[in-house]
């Protein structure tokens, strides 16, 4: 609960799913990444540079900016294509949700495992439509482009708000806040998950965990 959640909704054609998702996820990550931190002795650090790239979409009239890190791009592409697969295989009415969650790790003492505490969750709800003819596709292509533009502005607005961000860590804590596995860029720790059907049932394991916790509570 103690985290912000933002919801974006898009309606796209099946072949546009991948690009639309990439556009949005990359836009968010662009703002949630920094250059690599180089720590100095006295507890100070300098920040490396981050390059950006313009990416033109094939199926949408849209161009977005992403961090020029191939590794990051690969990871996101992988997640998105999994999502796309799942979406097309689901055979349902093509509603899905992909969420990008930024979290912090908190070290705990022995009996408890490290906690991952999310502080911001972006949920992108996707609605896939089927179009009959080329004309409609053309219109859709433009419309989705416009929509995505609006979304990007939304994202920027949200990010510009002066709200909670994890404090800049010291060298020992940097892994608790940032994903330091990439060579050229350092996004906040993030996790991409997706869900296909509308059913949001809690899984058995969470229920059991809660049951145990509750019986143990004072």
């Amino acid at each position: 609960m103690n985290c912000r959640s933002e919801v974006l909704e898009v309606t796209v054609e099946a072949r546009q799913v991948e690009e639309a998702m990439l556009a949005l996820l990359h836009t968010i990550l662009l703002h949630r990444s920094t250059g690599k931190f180089h720590y100095k002795k006295e507890g100070t650090y300098s920040i490396g540079t981050v390059g950006t790239l313009d990416i033109d979409c094939d199926f949408i009239d849209f161009t977005f900016v992403r961090v020029s890190s191939e590794e990051l791009d690969r990871m996101i592409r992988k997640a998105v294509s999994e999502f796309k697969e799942a979406l097309s295989n689901s055979g349902s009415d093509g509603i899905g949700q992909i969420s990008l969650e930024f979290y912090q790790k908190k070290k705990s003492r022995w009996p408890f495992s490290d906690e991952c505490i999310p502080w911001e969750v972006w949920s992108i709800k996707v609605n896939v439509v089927n179009l009959a003819n080329e004309q409609e596709r053309q219109i859709c292509r433009e419309k989705v482009g416009e929509k995505l533009g609006e979304k990007v502005i939304n994202v920027v607005e949200v990010i510009n708000r002066h709200e909670y961000l994890p404090k800049m860590p010291t060298q020992s804590e940097v892994d608790n806040v940032f994903d330091t596995s990439l060579k050229d860029v350092q996004p906040y720790l993030y996790k991409i998950t997706y869900q296909i059907t509308d059913c949001l049932g809690t899984s058995v394991s969470t229920t059991m965990r809660r049951l145990i916790k509750d019986t143990l509570a004072l």
């Binding site: 609960m1 103690n2 650090y45 300098s46 920040i47 908190k106 505490i117 404090k167 800049m168 010291t170």
Partner: protein, 858 residues
Amino acid sequence: MAHFDTEYQRLEASYSDSPPGEENLLMHVPEGAKSQWHHIENLDLFFQRVYNLHQKNGFTCMLMGEIFELVQLLFVVGFTVFLANCVDYDILFANKFVNHTDSSKVTLPDAFIPMDVCSNRIRDNAFVIFVLIISGVFWLHRFIKFIYNVCCYWEIRSFYINALKMSMSELPYATWQEVQARIVEIQKEHQICIHKKELTELDIYHRILRFKNYMVAMVNKSLLPVRFRLPMLGDCVFYTRGLKYNFELIFFWGPGSLFENEWSLKPEYKRGGNRMELANRLACRILWIGIANLLLCPVILVWQILYAFFSYTEVIKREPGSLGARCWSLYGRCYLRHFNELDHELMSRLSKGYKAASKYMNCFLSPLLTVVAKNVAFFAGSLLAVLIALTIYDEDVLAVEHVLSSITLLGVCITVCRSFIPDKHMVFCPEQLLRVILAHIHYMPDHWQGNAHRYETRDQFSQLFQYKAVFILEELLSPVVTPIILIFCLRRKSLEIIDFFRHFTVEVVGVGDTCSFAQMDIRQHGHPAWMSEGKTEASIYQQAEDGKTELSLMHFAITNPQWQPPRETTHFISQLKERVHREATGVSSDTHPLSLSESEPRSLIANLLAGPSTLASVHFVRDGSITNHAAAGIGDGASALRSLSPISSSLHLRGSLSAAHRAASHASVMSRAMAGSGTDARTVSSGSSAWEGQLTSLVLSEYASTEMSIHALYMHELHKQQSRGELSRHTWHRQESDESSDSIPDEVRSEPKPHSKHFPRSQTFPTTVPSPSSIPTSASAGGSTTMGQERVSSHSGSQRRYSGPNTDSVGPGRKVVRSARVPMGGWAEDGQAAPRQHEPLPEEGSEDEMPPHIHKVT
């Protein structure tokens, strides 16, 4: 070529291209995570734990308590089993002789059965094995819970120490309001909640009481099946811990419950679309849980017994009143609870009402039973007297079989009988008592007023305030009855429940889904008959019954003076306060010939307070010399008044912050006057102001309950008038007219210097209703607000001194220096000992003991 001489020169020391990433880069200093308390994942749980630790008086106390409980359980089970199986009672009772050769003495070890025989006996007895297994599981469960809690609370402990800067040793002496203020304070720095820059008190309450608020609302809207009409017993209430547990399991946290996690309702329950389907699903779940209950019945029974035994000490610890014969029932606690009222607030309120309530119940002794009891007591008493006389004559009588036991039995019998014989000096004045009770419990159905003497009222009240024996009996019956209620009653209500959760859940930013009643929004849930006429837009379905929204709002605003409610709400509160205030001042003028406003339709507070205040003055005049028992009935009124009258002063106290500085000039005079009387150290030590700040918060929190009492009474009175016109007026008038002749103490009026003369009385300061003496000076001032201020300045130095620091603590800066180490309950430190009489705590002293402070009047 001429030599050009220009001003442009080549720079000699050219800079070398330094590789990037070196010294001319911008350097940052990481803030690091200064504390681990920013951004806590589960704030609900976190606040609950912070609250629990505070209620349990710190970590060590909690730890020791838990350990002892564990040991206790082991001991109880072990000892019982031992007594049942390993003792040869024949030897103890000397039915069987031990074949000792050397001496005829029987020793205790003789009566023990040898180990192997004993263990065999235990092994053969299936029931004992069953009990042992269950208690073993129970113990293990407690043990694991204990370990888990120690780990969790250790973290909370360090939160207290590192973030809140409170050590565990001072925790028992800090009020919850103080702790809360610190939490609000540190939110700005640590951001424990990331949604908002600032937390409000209401947010914290909402999180701690999320589910309790739902339960209160459901009981308030009579949604839960806890009232039944049975063929033989008539109207009765059945609400036990087992049932409550099941309700909570079904609604809030059990598998497949309505809530997704601690803070949000599942989205499908928020939509009205498929409510039928959801209702069916819920009904199905209730059925299954009911069946599971039925199957587990014997296990639960044993568990329940263990648990009851085990938690009994806990109950006593928490609620001093529980040592008596009666206790507030579980239903009563739900019915009487305000929205957003924490456990300790409810408990202290109910405990204050306990005496009056049990006195009220004792009014209704059946005359027939009394006659029988008197005679039984007579016969038993004569037998006992003979036996005792014989024993005194020759103690060998004791050696005769069963003499000792019959003496004991007769003694018990007499004691029981005595409880049925009313006190000769007791006067039947239920209406008064009910009023006193109402001042504390704040809720009461309309039809009780004016019917307090009826048996029906008593029966209904006994649903809230039951015999402890009944309570235990219900608990024991619960495993059998609960499944029946679940399957046959609750299941039918599933659709209503679904609707309830859909209609009355709101999502609050930074808090999550809460019960909308708990927002205490007059507009949404106000009841037109409870002062929110015209302000409320609620349909009948949305209105909270019994004025719960309004009273809860007042209660919350009074207990948390720093809370800033939304604008309309503020308006409501200030309006009500002003009215109460005005009427309170009206009272004093009422009793005085220079009466202010007869134009106003007979002020309500006058109704409430006239009796009391006049009584108070009577007490002053007679110097607490009312001893005859004719006054006993009034005594209760007097105690009511004692609880009420400080309010007017506390009203001033809170209302007159702005008047503080004006009052300052009076301070020295007053303190001298007080020093003369020598009792009020508060005033005596007026020079030092170091501890005033802390005192303020403490005193305010004590006044809060009193102030709330008067608001509750006032609202009830207003409600009654609204709904029934002038019908029941006479019940209040009688008393007033009885005393009215005495009510204006001549001395007081004739006092030349009202200020100073009047003042010594105000060591009973809380009790001093703005008394007539101040009227001549201040009544002429006119408007009610100015009157209030005048009164403060003319009232007492101590008040003023409270209002002084008060401005600091309530002011916008909110720089509260809460270094108070004053114990919660009493005033331990000598320098501050005197404010004791400042506790206006509406304790109903029994009518025959005069309030201590009245005795002290010089």
